[in-house]
Symmetry: C2
Subunit: 456 residues, 2 copies
């Protein structure tokens, strides 16, 4: 576990400290063996990560990761590695003092930008490196990231954001006004957060690969644990969805919200018809009803399925997409993800946009490390941006937390505010070593069959 | 050069032919030495490619590439490689007989989809593999791709398209109607194309890194060569843009169209103001005025800068984006790219969408191999989809054609319709060998300085 004050082993006090290394490793967990995480689009995921470590000449480290689901993680690893020439050798103090400039440096690199632009593995690599820098910075400050961010001034926060492509929807001045409005009461909400934790919902009962018995049992357990919202995967087969939703509704009663999640399997008209056919069971939101980039499609679906809410964003690739989803009134619920966009900085832009347009942010989590990381952003939002947790919940999935140095803690259906320093995405060294693909012991013959190995 | 009829060395006539290999190589050309290709977003590109070869047990090959601009090409290479388990071992005849199913197989693979979805290097890798299949298929048919596609029935063409995310804008029936309308007169247009070639415009004069003398000289040369449209890069500095546009307008006279291209450097309001300040020089279109994903931003710009037209699409990552650009009336000119989306199939979807919404398609080209590949799509569009070349031009840039087995040929400002078999993206073996990065002879010390090498 990490101490609150980081120890810096500065071997040479006269040389300016620099970033000396960008390490990236391919880490995979064989989750497909139990169908954890199965949904209509992703039947057999092996939750995985391109795991990133920024190292400085002082011996400090910042850790982060990009969440992936198995094969192809090596592409994400290669994308992180491609940024090394832009990062290694930089003065560490300068980078840490101005994460806005650090992020813009990565984003402005034209060869890497060409591979997106601002989307896909290049953009996620950019985000993981920025997030590793924030992990390092928060550790040096001896603070959990949420608190570290929540103590920055409105001006410092605004300096993190790249306004070029969003300014016509949100100016620097508007962002400052939002942040200043919340500033005088930050300390009350920090105290409240420490006392009560942040509301959560759980997706654990609802994976598509679980049988009815498991669905009912886990739904009841969720209510007993204090959750007031659960989520079910839908979109495989309509009759199955109706049966499962009926069972879940009966298990949790009328007052617990049931969100449903189609993981992008539908076209626009299909989404509208399907949600209509599930209306009897009072779904709270429909998540990812169609292609994540389809702003106009989401707007059409939202108009048609109301009062069922439309939620999306876990695959929202950039602030430009979120800007449009808000401008077009295409979403009711904004779902940020810790590792899909260009890191903390771009997520702050998205939180500010959501606040400007008055929409709640309910982060996507699960996978591996996403709960650990994204909780910091939701808590920062509560303290310093939106100033409220009304109708806001962070997703929680009860998998793979044991691999992290600061695993999330859920009490009575709420995320306990983390106290350990850092940004949350640091894995135990032994977990990384054991699950490294393809050479870690968890992936060796005897642990995993040759057949299974060939399928990945 | 390739013979029109492919020779198939089938060693074992009893075994069904299979796809035995997916080879991908990192090929880079040191174009940054002359600032060829320099623009406001990409100051020093080294035109590069992830070069893809599909090989069958019969000894046949299909070639294609993803265009990149230097560092990071290794990420694109890794993304192509990640698809190998989905491709190698497939029955070749089956894949060739149903390229729609082949493409859907790649697109439906959930671990690779997670890396996009349907965007970035994973999507471009998908596209290059599909394009390599088409190269193989056209070669076996002994036809240039444009003609091969133009001889498919409307039903066969519609079967290539994935309608899931576009059906509310374009149904299968509408697509069939568009194709059937053009069908009776296809042969007239094939003859016309062979006689006259397809209209082109040139970007050669207008790179941002060229001095005024070179700009004027190349602009005059373009008109002398028969081009009726040129393009200038803008967006670096307004006074410079005004000076350069004035010089170009004087050089080409009032009747030659001058398109301008900002390569995404502006925000929405900045784009409107900047284009307004260039209005005196009668620009024909403004290309990529802002973030390529910003549908609503392009719509706002289009309303504000008319009668200057808005063109975009070279970084349009999928048919979902093009669908929205058309639905929102956000573009006047649709710019497809041969290697940005999921190959020929997705580009056919985009051509059909553009035809449905009545917008001209003017392909992006240049880079390395893009002219060679995209001309086939424009010519197919003319023959079998839109049925017209009115206000349609293919971009032409006079670089790197000498590396291809079927280099494009321009005559009197028009693309000569290719006669050689294949999809156009096949490089000379020696060009690939010499430019392979980092070990090819063009990248060895002595050819390139250590300093320059370190910068890439």
């Amino acid at each position: 576990m990490t101490s609150l004050v980081s120890t810096r082993r500065t071997s040479d006090l006269s040389a300016p400290e620099s970033i000396t290394e960008l390490v990236v490793r391919d880490v995979r967990f064989p989750t497909s063996r139990q169908l954890d995480g199965s949904d209509a689009m992703n039947p057999q995921p092996d939750y995985s990560a391109a795991y990133v470590v920024l190292r400085t000449s002082a011996g400090d480290e910042g850790h982060s990761l990009v969440f992936t689901i198995g094969r192809g993680t090596e592409v994400q690893v290669e994308a992180v590695r491609a940024f090394a020439p832009l990062v290694v050798g930089l003065a560490a103090e300068e980078a840490l003092a101005d994460p806005g400039a650090f992020s813009r440096r990565l984003g402005a690199d034209s060869p890497m930008r060409w591979l997106g632009p601002e989307k896909g593995v290049a953009h996620m690599a950019h985000g993981a490196i920025v997030n590793a820098l924030w992990d390092l910075r928060a550790r040096r400050a001896g603070q959990p990231l949420w608190l570290h961010l929540a103590e920055l001034s409105p001006e410092e926060l605004v300096a993190l954001v790249d306004f070029r492509y969003i300014r016509e929807a949100l100016t620097e001045e508007e962002a400052l006004r939002i942040l200043r409005r919340a500033e005088p009461t930050r300390s009350e909400r920090i105290a409240e957060l420490r006392r009560a934790g942040y509301p959560a919902y759980t997706t654990t009962p609802g994976w598509l690969g679980y049988d009815d018995e498991k669905l009912v049992r886990l739904s009841r357990a969720a209510v007993a644990e204090g959750f007031t919202q659960i989520k079910l995967k839908v979109g495989g087969d309509l009759q199955t969805d109706r049966r499962r939703l009926a069972l879940a509704r009966e298990a949790v009663g009328p007052d617990v919200r049931i969100a449903i999640d189609a993981n992008q399997v539908w076209g626009v008209e299909e989404a509208i018809a399907w949600v209509d056919a599930l209306h009897d069971f009072d779904p709270y939101w429909i998540e990812e009803p169609t292609a994540p980039d389809d702003v106009l499609g989401h707007a059409a679906i939202k108009r048609a399925v109301a009062p069922v809410k439309v939620a999306t964003g876990e695959h929202g690739h950039s602030q430009v997409l979120f800007k449009q989803l808000l401008q077009a009134d295409a979403v009711d619920v904004v779902q940020i993800d810790a590792s899909r966009v260009a890191g903390v900085n771009e997520n702050i832009a998205i939180l500010l946009l959501a606040a400007k347009f008055g929409k709640p942010v309910c982060p996507h989590a699960g996978g591996v490390g996403l709960c650990e990381m994204v909780q910091h952003l939701a808590m920062f939002d509560y303290v310093a941006v939106s100033g409220t947790w009304e109708d806001r919940v962070i997703e929680h999935v009860d998998h793979l937390h044991e691999h992290f140095t600061e695993p999330v803690e859920i009490r009575a259906g709420r995320y306990v505010a983390p106290v350990g320093a850092g940004a949350g995405g640091r894995m135990l060294a032994d977990s990384v070593r054991r699950h490294e693909y393809p050479d870690g012991p968890e992936w060796q013959v005897g642990v995993i069959s040759a057949q299974e190995r060939g399928d990945r």
